[in-house]
């Protein structure tokens, strides 16, 4: 079965420290993977996407993610957190039929001064 698991429901970091949001996937096929961010009362915004090109993907706002097939992971990182990064982050898997985005349960990132 195809699925995506976000390992942490909440992550709290201090401003200026690194961010790591973990995501693992399960798929029989080469997956397409995305990270979306959802700020309070805002729509979902695409941060970055992996579609079988370079395994290290750079996104907006300084975020990046590395696709590791051996570990079935697609963790999201940022070297230095900013207060404006506080939001809900979703790891998303595109199903083999190309018509369904399967969302993880989300990770709420809190950034403290």
């Amino acid at each position: 079965a195809q699925s995506v698991t976000q390992l942490d429901s909440h992550v709290s970091v201090s401003e200026g420290t690194p961010v790591l949001l973990r995501c693992n996937y399960s798929s029989s096929y080469s997956p397409s993977l995305f990270w979306y961010v959802q700020h309070p009362n805002k729509g979902l915004q695409l941060l970055l996407k992996y579609t079988s090109a370079a395994t290290l993907v750079k996104g907006i706002n300084g975020f990046e993610a590395e696709f590791k097939k051996s570990e079935t992971s697609f963790h999201l990182t940022k070297p230095s957190a900013h207060m404006s990064d506080a939001a809900e982050y979703f790891c998303v898997f595109l199903s083999g039929g190309y018509n369904k985005l399967i969302f993880g349960a989300g990770t709420r990132l809190a950034v403290h001064p």
């Binding site: 979306y36 009362n41 729509g43 979902l44 979703f90 018509n99 349960a105 989300g106």
Partner: protein, 114 residues
């Protein structure tokens, strides 16, 4: 318009009433999706439209839920005889084609059933 527009942004309804939610996709986007997001959870796929093809309704949770789309324009999601468990944010997304990967989400309709 520039983005995916959903209306209303908020809807409070009494249990048992019918509600209709609207989604205006980005002009020219052939693919349209409806998702549901319950409080504190990820998004559940509900239904998918691609051009004039038969929609993929595999995510609709019950026969109280239905959705329509005329051509490549507006879509409406209808929930009949609403129940409290229907309370959620209903999100619409569109993309240029089904394989474009450029999914743009609307801000959603927050439905509260009391």
């Amino acid at each position: 318009g520039a983005g995916v527009s959903q209306s209303p942004s908020n809807k409070v309804t009494e249990k048992g009433k019918d509600v209709e939610l609207r989604c205006d996709p980005i002009s020219g986007h052939t693919a349209l999706y409806w998702y549901r997001q319950r409080l504190g959870q990820g998004l559940e796929f509900l239904i998918y439209f691609q051009g004039n093809s038969a929609p993929d309704k595999s995510g609709l949770p019950s026969d109280r839920f239905s959705a329509e789309r005329t051509g490549e324009s507006v879509s409406t999601l209808t929930i009949q005889r609403t129940q409290q468990e229907d309370s959620a944010v209903y999100l619409c997304a569109s993309s240029l084609t089904e394989r474009n990967y450029g999914y743009t989400f609307g801000s959603g309709t927050r439905l509260t059933v009391v």
